[in-house]
Every structure is written in structure tokens, then in C-alpha cells.
């Protein structure tokens, strides 16, 4: 899923996918503003097909964080 998550974030930020690293965060990316952050959350929820809880979202501020949460959630639904 890493590729899809990176593509989604790149699209929201209007940046080439190659420029995004795991450690890219909203704090060091000027285009990752409050609205971009919300658009990323909405995009991820759409990708997963269900909403995330506030606690699941709150500490995700980097590309790596989002990749991890998506992998975790997909792993959980596969187990079910």
C-alpha cells in the first residue's frame, strides 16, 4: 500500500511522488498545511473504505505514519 499512500499524499500536495520520503512530515513541508492534512485524512479513509477514529488519526503527521496506519488497518481487516 506504500505506493498508493505516497501517490495520494503527492497528489494532495501537488508534489512529485519521488520527492516524498517516509520521514517527510507536515512540519517540514510548507504545502502540507491544515487543509492538505484534512484532504490526506479524507483520501486515506476513502482508500480504506471506512472512517478512522480521532485517536487513530491524531499522531499521523508523516508519510511513514500514514503508510503504517493503512498497513495496520488492512492487516486487521484481512484477519477478520
Amino acid at each position: 500500500m506504500e505506493k498508493q499512500v505516497k501517490e495520494l499524499i503527492a497528489k494532495v500536495l501537488n508534489e512529485p511522488v519521488e520527492s516524498l520520503k517516509e520521514e517527510t512530515t507536515m512540519y517540514d513541508t510548507p504545502k502540507w498545511d491544515s487543509l492538505a492534512h484534512i484532504n490526506i485524512i479524507c483520501g486515506i479513509e476513502k482508500m480504506l473504505g471506512r472512517p478512522l477514529t480521532l485517536d487513530e488519526i491524531i499522531s499521523n503527521t508523516s508519510v511513514g505514519d500514514w503508510v503504517n496506519i493503512v498497513n495496520k488497518k488492512i492487516g486487521e481487516s484481512n484477519k477478520k
Binding site: M26, Y27, S34, L35, A36, H37, I38, P51, T53, L54
Partner: protein, 505 residues
């Protein structure tokens, strides 16, 4: 005159075991935060030993409870503070520190090139002695400045705005009277950068109404704002319109977050359409909504209105006014043209005006004008005033651009477009790279994502504005870029458009 620390101390000591402030990690009681202030004061004193005058204390700390305590520590000692941001690039920090010339800068670690004082040994500081208490009380009674806040001017150079204690306390008094209906509010959330004066507006409200002060960890992370509003039962929220819009829109689609505790929403720092009022009312129906306006140079705000009172103005399809001037200030409008006495630059006089720009008497002199013996601060904002006295911002004086011989104000175009059906946001920019061929470009975001409503916008403009003011180009965007202050980033819009032109050529 009371010092802000004295008011805060009195408030907190009346309920020392209750929550006084909080950050993402947790909350502190009144007693705990006063102890933190004590320790900070003793630590600062250890560096400044023997210094009698009131000096600047730079605060270069993470955004947490200690940052807040450091502001009050400076006030307690009869000093003033200079808020700094740990996310600033080093070059910017050095520039600000050089201009403000603080006697000490509170930091986590020592930093070369600035008079840094690490707070890592804070817990080991001894108790405050009676001698120190007396010394600080004496200095408090003679202190002049409350804080210096840096703001970028139209030239891009940073200006250090010196705000006095009487100016800040006049604002606290205003907040006490104006928001009297909210005297029983319990908790507010700071969402702005701590280097912006919206934060000082929050602190003034906290002093006026004895409310808890909570800090959201990052101004851009709206999810934290939402969580803290819910978990800490925040009832008072003051922010820029873009933050309010994005936060409240997002909340509307969620079932696990509620803003039921919000009683007061205050918007400031930028214009907004009536739709924002509807959005706030539908998300937090019990909240009262206010609009406030003011340059940093006039201590946070100088004009305000309760938006709920403006039904007749809305019915007339006028834009949202910034409000009526504070009663203890004098405002006037200096007309641009003798033929149009109702439009001109807003001038403000009175106790809340800044002492000046630090280290720049020339710039300070230029910022003021004297009319009939009264010294007024020139806001640089072009305003109109209606027959009831409400002011409406028409844009910046320095944004007026002559196109084909006409003076055009891009904000006036945004105001005219604001009630177009299907429009979410708009920002108009006049491109003057080529003087012979200036272009008016309106960047817009539709309500329905991706829907091109350029034609509707153009028709709407043609009905409301003279032809020379109708934009030549409408650019559909997914969102409008925001700067760190929460205002539209015009530089980024310019760059975006020039990039588009290159691609098309």
C-alpha cells in the same frame, strides 16, 4: 495599574487545585503552574543578577505549558517577553534576536550566537526569596513594556512591535467588558502561532474571565484542535477564518466529534463570507460568533462585532463588517479622494497604540500621523464606514493597483464574488509583472470539487462591478494555499499562475 501576572496569580490562587493550563501531554493546576513560573523566575534571575532595569526575555521553547509559564515569568519579574518559534530557520531566529536584543533567551539547549539560558535544570531551582519578591514587585511597578511581537511588513522586513503594559491592560479591560456575557466560560484553546498576537488575545481573555488556557500542539494540525475542544470541554475559540472553516467543515462529516461545549467563536485576521457564519452555527448552534479586527500595532484588536447582530446588514447583501470601534479608542477614516469621504485609510488613536518599532524610530514616525493634535496609527487598511458606524475592510492601501487608469482593489472584487452560488473560496490577484499588460486573476475553489463555475463568476462580476474590474482570468483550484498565519498565500498563488502560463506557452 495591575500587571498581567498579578491578575493571573490572583485568579489561580482563588482555585489553586483546579486546572489552569494544558498542552498535548496533560494539564497543570494553578499551584503547579505558579511553581513553574517561580522556578523560571529564579533561573532567569540567576543569569541577570544585579540588573535593575526591565529587559527583554526571549522565549525559544517548545509549544507547551512551560512556554506559557515563561510569558508570565517575564511579567512577574517586571520584564517583557519576545515570543520566538523553535520551527524558525536559524537565520530568521538570529535576525529577530539581533533586532530585539533580549537580555536572555530561554531555550532547551544552549545555542551559539544568542544569550541562551537552558531550562534543563529548572526542577533544581530554589524557592523565591522575599528579597527577590520585593525587587520584582518594585520593577513591575515601573515597567513599561509587555511584549515585542515581530510581524513582516509590506517590504518583507521583520518589524518588532513594542506593546506597553498599559496598552495590553486596556485590551484586557475591553475583553472583560465586551465579552461580559461569557464571564462564566471555563476553557479556551490557543491554536495560533505563539508568535502571533491572536495568542495574546487568548491570554487577555483568560485574564479577563479567569478561564483555563489550553495549547493545541500545532497550528496546522486541526485534528488536535478538534480532540482538545472535545476532551477538554473548550467553550472559547479564537482563530483565523481559514482555520475555522477547515476545522468546522471537517467536523460536520464526523460522528465521533462534537463541539457541543463551544459557547464563543471569535474570528479575526482576515475577511470571511456569511457562509462561514452558517457553518459555525450549524456545527455549534449554541455558540455566539464574533468578528474582530486590528493590526498588531494597536494591541491585538481595535474593532469588533457580534456577527449574530448583523441580520439587517446580511439582508442588504453587504459583506461581513469588521465591526464598530472600541469605545476607549478614537478611529477615523482618512479619505483617499475628496469626492468619496466614506472610503479611506483607517486611523486609530488611543491607549492601545504601540510604543513603536524596536530600534527603528524612522519607521515608527512614518507609522503615525497627527491630525488636529491627535496622534493616529495609520493601519494601511482601506475601509468604508456605513451610516451605523460599522467598518468594512476593502483591502490594503498598498494593494491598490492602477489598471487602465483605474485604481483597482482586489479585495473589492473578492467581496463582489463572495455570494456567487456554488463558490466556496476566492482570492483575486493583480499581476503587474508587465506594466503594459496587467491582468486581474481570480483564483477560486467551488463548493463541488472540480466544478468549473468560471462563467457564473464572470457573469456575477459583470452584474456587480464596472467592466474594468471584471477579472480577465478565473483559475479553478482544489484549494487556496495558506501561509503560516492562516491567511491566503498570495506569493504562492502568483507562482502557481506564472507556472501555469509557462506550461501553456
Amino acid at each position: 495599574m495591575k500587571n498581567p501576572f498579578e491578575i493571573w496569580q490572583k485568579n489561580l490562587l482563588s482555585h489553586p487545585d483546579q486546572t489552569a493550563c494544558g498542552d498535548e501531554c496533560g494539564v497543570l493546576t494553578g499551584q503547579e503552574v505558579l511553581t513553574l513560573v517561580d522556578r523560571l523566575c529564579v533561573l532567569i534571575e540567576s543569569r541577570l543578577q544585579g540588573r535593575k532595569d526591565s529587559v527583554g526575555i526571549g522565549i525559544f521553547l517548545p509549544r507547551d505549558n512551560t512556554y506559557l509559564a515563561a510569558m508570565f515569568a517575564a511579567w512577574r519579574m517586571g520584564h517583557y517577553f519576545i515570543p520566538l518559534n523553535t520551527r524558525w530557520p536559524r537565520e530568521h531566529l538570529m535576525k529577530i534576536v539581533k533586532k530585539a536584543d533580549p537580555a536572555v533567551v530561554l531555550t532547551l539547549e544552549n545555542i551559539d550566537g544568542i544569550p541562551s539560558l537552558s531550562i534543563k535544570d529548572l526542577a533544581q531551582q530554589p524557592a523565591v526569596s522575599e528579597t527577590l519578591n520585593r525587587q520584582w514587585a518594585k520593577r513591575r511597578s515601573q515597567a513599561r513594556l509587555a511584549y515585542i511581537i515581530f510581524t513582516s511588513g509590506s517590504t518583507g522586513e521583520q518589524k518588532g512591535v513594542m506593546i506597553s503594559l498599559p496598552a495590553f491592560m486596556a485590551y484586557v479591560d475591553w475583553a472583560k467588558k465586551y465579552f461580559q456575557a461569557h464571564r462564566n466560560n471555563k476553557a479556551l484553546l490557543i491554536t495560533a502561532e505563539l508568535t502571533f498576537d491572536i495568542t495574546l488575545g487568548d491570554i487577555a481573555f483568560a485574564l479577563a474571565h479567569d478561564v483555563e488556557v489550553h495549547l493545541s500542539p500545532d497550528p496546522r494540525n486541526l485534528i488536535w484542535h478538534a480532540k482538545l475542544i472535545q476532551d477538554r470541554q473548550i467553550d472559547t475559540f479564537y482563530s483565523v477564518p481559514s482555520t475555522i472553516r477547515h476545522l468546522f467543515s471537517w467536523i460536520q462529516g464526523r460522528h465521533d466529534v462534537s463541539f457541543q461545549h463551544l459557547k464563543l467563536v471569535v474570528s479575526g485576521g482576515d475577511a470571511f463570507p456569511w457562509e462561514l457564519v452558517d457553518l459555525v452555527k450549524s456545527t455549534a448552534p449554541q455558540a455566539e460568533f464574533y468578528n474582530v479586527y486590528g493590526p498588531t500595532e494597536v494591541t491585538i484588536n481595535c474593532v469588533a462585532t457580534r456577527v449574530d447582530d448583523l441580520k439587517n446588514i446580511r439582508q442588504k447583501r453587504l459583506p461581513v463588517p469588521i465591526g464598530l470601534p472600541f469605545l476607549h479608542l478614537q478611529t477615523m477614516l482618512q479619505p483617499e479622494h475628496p469626492g468619496d469621504p466614506k472610503t479611506g485609510e483607517l486611523l486609530v488613536a488611543g491607549l492601545q497604540c504601540m510604543d513603536g518599532y524596536v530600534g527603528d524610530p524612522e519607521l515608527t514616525a512614518k507609522a503615525f500621523t497627527t491630525i488636529e493634535g491627535q496622534r493616529y496609527y495609520r493601519t494601511g487598511d482601506l475601509v468604508t464606514q456605513d451610516e451605523q458606524g460599522y467598518y468594512y475592510v476593502q483591502g490594503r492601501m498598498d494593494n491598490l493597483v492602477k489598471v487602465k487608469g483605474y485604481r483597482i482593489n482586489p479585495t473589492e472584487i473578492d467581496n463582489a464574488l463572495a455570494d456567487t452560488l456554488g463558490l466556496k473560496e476566492v482570492k483575486t490577484v493583480i499581476f503587474r509583472e508587465d506594466e503594459s499588460d496587467k491582468q486581474i486573476v481570480s483564483f477560486f475553489v467551488p463548493v463541488v470539487q472540480g466544478k468549473d463555475i468560471s462563467l457564473e463568476l464572470e457573469n456575477h462580476c459583470r452584474q456587480k462591478l464596472p467592466s474594468y474590474m471584471v477579472p480577465q482570468v478565473f483559475v479553478l483550484l482544489g484549494s487556496l494555499p495558506m501561509g503560516s498565519s492562516g491567511k491566503y498565500d498570495v506569493q504562492m498563488l502568483r507562482a502557481k499562475y506564472l507556472e501555469m502560463l509557462k506550461v501553456n506557452h
